[in-house]
Symmetry: C2
Subunit: 158 residues, 2 copies
């Protein structure tokens, strides 16, 4: 856990700071040969949970970075709901993860790069909780490039 004093910092820097932490998680996934997506959950300027994609390692398609971060955050807080929490995730959540975020009633979701093919926003109806505010495009280039490089590398190998 880490406490950061952002009182005198502009909002964007805060978002970029936490997105960089999510990117660190994505890099851990990359090293494990996983699709490089990372997430952190922040509550009152503290990172209370971290997660990175582990679908290959755990042989489980539900082991997305966000799902693990939701479970870990609830465990840390001792309550199921993630009100007053922010999910930072490097790539736009998929439908499963958006659906999970609905149940958590999380206050904010901030994601880096859009995922037009598998992202939840391809669905026109709202999937997230009405109380969840969403922001996107934070460190978009860095978050997206990691994915592009990964899949390009995969194609070269196969």
């Amino acid at each position: 856990m880490r406490y950061v004093n952002f009182t005198e910092e502009p909002e964007t820097n805060k978002d970029e700071f936490y997105m960089r932490e999510a990117l660190k998680e994505a890099h851990i996934a990359l090293k494990l040969g996983e699709v490089p997506i990372g997430a952190v959950i922040v509550c009152k300027d503290r990172i209370i949970a971290r997660g990175h994609n582990l679908t290959e390692r755990l042989n489980d398609v539900t082991a997305h970075a966000e799902m693990q971060a939701f479970t870990a955050a609830a465990n840390f807080l001792g309550g199921k709901y993630l009100k007053d929490c922010t999910l930072y995730v490097t790539i736009e959540p998929c439908i499963m993860c958006a659906g999970a975020s609905f149940w958590t009633q999380i206050s904010h979701i901030v994601f880096g790069a859009h995922d037009p093919k598998r992202g939840y926003s391809r669905v026109e109806q709202a999937l997230t909780h009405p109380r969840t505010e969403i922001k996107s495009g934070i460190l978009e280039a860095d978050c997206g490039q990691l994915m592009k490089d990964f899949f390009q590398q995969k194609r070269i190998k196969s």
Copy 2:
């Protein structure tokens, strides 16, 4: 694990048989004070995974019956994908669980009672995998009544 010979049984009886197994799981959830939803996953006429809702017990909104059954089935099979598998679940899956089913590429989903409020089919666009066939209304009355009784009881207590 259980092997059942359905060679001479009509298709409906097979669905009802497995839905009764899912209902048994729902009853286990009920006894634990959980929203009574249960699921089993069947592959080649064998139940390879079971799950019941454990969101309260695990303090985790993602701990739906289906999510646990998906993870357990992949673990049993040693592969991430649930092709040639059927999910039997007492209540229509929510958006999170439908989104998870997409990633599993499961062949069939059979559910009991519809959930007009939280079920995935409230979304007009397809959320499940194009290869997933869906059937509903198997033991619908039994599956739905369990939920009605549960919430009625909750209202009396509160």
